[in-house]
C-alpha cells in the first residue's frame, strides 16, 4: 500500500522533469489523485508500470470528465491611495478595501485513470491529465501502448468527449456511428430535435414539426433545382 505522497515522490525521483501535483479529495473515500503534465504522462505511466516497487500492472478504469468555463468571484483585499480631507487639509491616505473580483477559469477536458496492482494488491492510484482547452487543443498522450485495457476506453473518451489521444493505435468512435459529429458526453451538448414521435394537434409540437417540414421541403426543392440544372448542363 502506497499513499499518493509516496508515489509522487517516487515519480519525481524516477522520471526527471515530471510535474506531479496531488489533487486532494475531500470526500470520505479519501482517494487522492495525481495530476501529471501531458508532456511527461507517458513516461510516468511507463515508470508506474515497470517499477518493481510500485508495480501498477492493472489499469482498471479510464474515463473523461468535462469541466466547463466558470466564473469564480473572490474577495480580494486591495490597497488604494485616496485623497481625503483630514483636519481640513487634503491628504493622500492609503486605505485597504475589500473588493469582489470575478475571475474566469477556462474550461478543460480531463482524463482520469484508475490503476491497481495485482502483484502488490493495492489501489486505486489515480492519475489525471488535463487538456489545454475544450475546443482546439484537446490532444493528450494515449496510454494504450503500455496498458492494452485503455484501448476501448480511450476510444470511448474520444467518442463521447472528443479528446484526441496521440499514439493510440486505432482511434475511432466506439459507440456512436462514424458519421456522428458531436461529442454527447460534453456538459454543453444539446441533443438534436427529434420529430420521430407523432405530433398532436394540441401542442406546440405540431407547429415545430411543420416548420421543420417546410425547411426540409425548401432544401429538397433547392436540390431538385440543382439536379435539373446539372441535367440540362450535361444534355448540352
Amino acid at each position: 500500500m502506497k499513499t499518493a505522497e509516496e508515489i509522487k515522490a517516487a515519480i519525481e525521483a524516477g522520471v526527471p522533469g515530471a510535474e506531479v501535483e496531488i489533487v486532494p479529495n475531500p470526500s470520505p473515500s479519501g482517494q487522492h489523485s495525481l495530476r501529471v503534465a501531458p508532456s511527461h504522462a507517458f513516461a510516468v505511466a511507463q515508470f508506474l508500470h515497470d517499477d518493481p516497487e510500485i508495480a501498477l500492472d492493472y489499469l482498471s478504469n479510464a474515463t473523461g470528465v468535462d469541466w466547463l468555463d466558470k466564473e469564480v468571484s473572490e474577495k480580494v483585499k486591495a490597497t488604494r491611495t485616496v485623497t481625503k480631507l483630514v483636519d481640513g487639509v487634503e491628504q493622500s491616505v492609503e486605505e485597504t478595501v475589500e473588493e469582489t473580483v470575478k475571475r474566469a477559469i477556462p474550461g478543460y477536458l480531463e482524463t482520469v485513470y484508475h490503476f491497481f496492482s495485482i502483484q502488490k494488491k493495492y489501489g486505486p492510484v489515480i492519475l489525471r491529465m488535463r487538456t489545454e482547452n475544450r475546443t482546439d487543443q484537446v490532444e493528450l498522450p494515449s496510454l494504450t501502448p503500455i496498458y492494452r485495457s485503455a484501448e476501448f476506453q480511450e476510444r470511448e473518451i474520444f467518442d463521447l468527449y472528443g479528446i484526441v489521444f496521440t499514439g493510440h493505435p486505432d482511434l475511432r468512435r466506439l459507440l456512436m456511428w462514424d458519421e456522428f459529429k458531436d461529442h454527447p458526453m460534453r456538459r454543453d451538448y444539446v441533443s438534436p430535435e427529434d420529430f420521430e414521435y407523432e405530433p398532436t394537434p394540441h401542442d406546440e409540437v405540431l407547429v415545430r414539426a411543420q416548420a421543420q417540414r417546410a425547411k426540409e421541403m425548401a432544401a429538397a426543392t433547392v436540390q431538385a433545382d440543382g439536379a435539373a440544372v446539372r441535367q440540362e448542363g450535361s444534355a448540352q
Binding site: 479529495n25 475531500p26 470526500s27 470520505p28 473515500s29 482517494q31 508500470h49 515497470d50 508495480a55 500492472d57 492493472y58 489499469l59 482498471s60 478504469n61 474515463t63 470528465v65 482520469v112 484508475h114 495485482i118 502483484q119 494488491k121 486505486p124 489515480i126 501502448p145 503500455i146 496498458y147 492494452r148 485495457s149 485503455a150 484501448e151 476501448f152 476506453q153 463521447l160 493505435p169 468512435r173 466506439l174 459507440l175 456512436m176 456511428w177 454527447p184 458526453m185
Partner: protein
C-alpha cells in the same frame, strides 16, 4: 512462480498488440459482418471478420447498437434515481449492479451499512452469481450445438432463483433493491426458509450439470486448447472476473478488497491453468460451488437488526464535493462506478466501468488463426451482456 501469483516482466512496447497473420491460401479474403443480428452474438453485437477460407485473419468488434448513453442519464438524475437504471446494465445480474453503485455512493458519502443488510446483499449477490454462471454455461453449450438440454437445465434452476428475487423485490430481473446505506425491504423468515430450500437443492444441480457436460468428448474437443489467453496479456488488457482467473491469475476482488462482509467467509478462488475456453467453463462451474458454500453459511448466520442505516438520507441526498471509485466482483468481472460530486443532488460525473466491454478487448487476440465456427465459442466464453457493453 506458484499458482495464482503473477509476476510482471518488462517487455518492449507493442508486445500487447494482436499478432499479424498472413493469409496462406491463394484467392481473396472474405469479409463477413457477423451480427448484429446473428443468433450467437448475445444481442446486438457485431464483429467484422476477414476470413481466409475458414481461418480468421482479422477481427474488429463493432459496438453501439444498444447505446443509450447511460452515463449522461446518470448525470441528469439524482443519485437514487439512477439505481433503477443500473438494473438495465447487465440485465442478467441486476442485484450486483445495484450493489456496485450503492457501494460507490456509500464511499462517496461515507455511509455505513448495517450488518443484516450486508448479509442480504451477499446472499443476493451470490445467488445472482450462480444463476449467471449457470445460464452462461448453458448459452455456451447452446452455441456449441447442444440444442436445448444444457440451457434448459440451467434455466430450470435460474427460475428458482428468480422466484426468490421476485418474492423479495417484486421483480424477477429489474430488482432495484439496494439503497445507499442498506436495502429496500427486509427479508422475512419465510423467505430465508425458501432460500435455504433452493440453496440445498442446488448442489445436486451442479453435480448433474457437471456429469452432463464434464466428460463430454465433443465439449472437450471443441474447448480445450481453444482461444488461449496468456496471463500477462490478460492483466495488461484489464481482463477481470472468471476470464482472468482462468488464465491462472489469482485476483478476486472479494478477496482483495474484502468489501461488504466477505472477510467473514471462507471460500476458495478457483483458477485455471491454460486459459482456454475449457478453463473458463471449469472456473465458472467451481465458482458456483464456492458460492453455494457461502450462501449456506450466510443463510444460517444472518443476524436480526435494521436493514437501513439510521443516518441514511433518502430525500435531499447531497454528498459533499469529492469523488469515489467503488468496485465489486460482479459475475462478469470487475464492475466499478466512478462518481464525482459537486455538492448538488445529481452526480457531476457518473461513470460505469463495464467488465463486459473491457473483457472484449482481447477477443481479436484469442480468435486469430481459428476457424470461424470457433469464434462463436470463444466469444461465448467471454460471457457478455450487451446492455453493459454498450450502456
Amino acid at each position: 512462480m506458484s499458482i495464482g501469483e503473477f509476476v510482471q516482466e518488462n517487455k518492449p512496447l507493442g508486445w500487447n498488440r494482436p499478432p499479424h497473420i498472413e493469409p496462406d491460401g491463394e484467392g481473396e479474403l472474405l469479409e463477413v459482418a457477423m451480427g448484429p443480428h446473428h443468433p450467437s452474438t448475445h444481442g446486438v453485437f457485431r464483429m467484422d471478420l476477414a476470413l481466409d477460407g475458414e481461418r480468421v485473419i482479422r477481427l474488429k468488434p463493432v459496438f453501439g447498437y444498444l447505446h443509450r448513453n447511460h452515463e449522461k442519464l446518470g448525470e441528469g438524475h439524482s443519485y437514487l434515481a439512477s439505481m433503477p437504471f443500473t438494473d438495465r446494465l447487465d440485465y442478467m445480474c441486476s442485484l450486483t449492479n445495484n450493489w456496485a453503485y450503492a457501494l460507490a455512493v456509500e464511499k462517496l458519502a461515507g455511509q455505513e451499512v448495517p450488518e443484516r443488510a450486508e448479509y442480504i446483499r451477499l446472499i443476493l449477490a451470490e445467488l445472482t452469481r450462480i444463476q449467471n454462471h449457470a445460464s452462461s454455461i448453458g448459452f455456451l453449450l447452446q452455441e456449441m450445438g447442444a440444442s436445448g438440454t444444457p440451457l434448459m437445465y440451467a434455466f430450470r434452476e435460474r427460475e428458482k432463483i428468480l422466484d426468490l428475487f421476485e418474492s423479495l423485490t417484486g421483480s424477477r430481473m429489474m430488482c432495484n433493491y439496494m439503497r445507499f446505506g442498506g436495502c429496500r425491504v427486509d427479508v422475512s423468515q419465510d423467505w430465508v426458509k425458501s432460500a435455504k430450500k433452493v440453496v440445498a437443492s442446488l448442489p445436486k444441480f451442479v453435480d448433474e450439470f457437471e456429469n452432463l457436460l464434464g466428460g463430454n468428448e465433443i465439449l472437450m474437443a471443441r474447448t480445450q486448447g481453444m482461444g488461449i489467453l496468456k496471463p500477462d496479456l490478460a492483466v495488461n488488457a484489464g481482463i477481470s472476473g472468471p476470464m482472468l482467473r482462468a488464465t491462472g491469475v489469482g485476483y478476486d476482488i472479494r478477496k482483495v478488497d474484502r468489501y461488504g462482509i466477505y472477510d467473514r467467509f471462507n471460500f476458495r478462488v478457483p483458477l485455471g491453468a491454460v486459459g482456454d475456453i475449457y478453463d473458463r467453463y471449469s472456473v465458472r462451474m467451481l465458482e458456483m460451488r464456492e458460492s453455494l458454500k457461502m450462501l449456506e453459511q450466510a443463510l444460517n448466520e444472518i443476524p436480526a437488526g435494521p436493514i437501513m442505516d439510521a443516518k441514511a438520507k433518502i430525500r435531499g441526498f447531497r454528498p459533499k464535493p469529492g469523488e469515489a471509485y467503488g468496485r465489486i466482483e460482479a459475475p462478469k468481472g470487475e464492475l466499478g462506478f466512478y462518481l464525482i460530486s459537486d455538492g448538488s443532488p445529481n452526480p457531476y460525473r457518473y461513470r460505469v466501468r463495464p467488465p463486459s466491454l473491457i473483457n472484449l478487448t482481447v477477443l481479436e487476440d484469442m480468435c486469430l488463426g481459428h476457424n470461424v465456427a470457433d469464434v462463436v465459442l470463444i466469444f461465448g466464453s467471454v460471457d457478455i451482456v450487451l446492455g453493459e457493453v454498450d450502456r
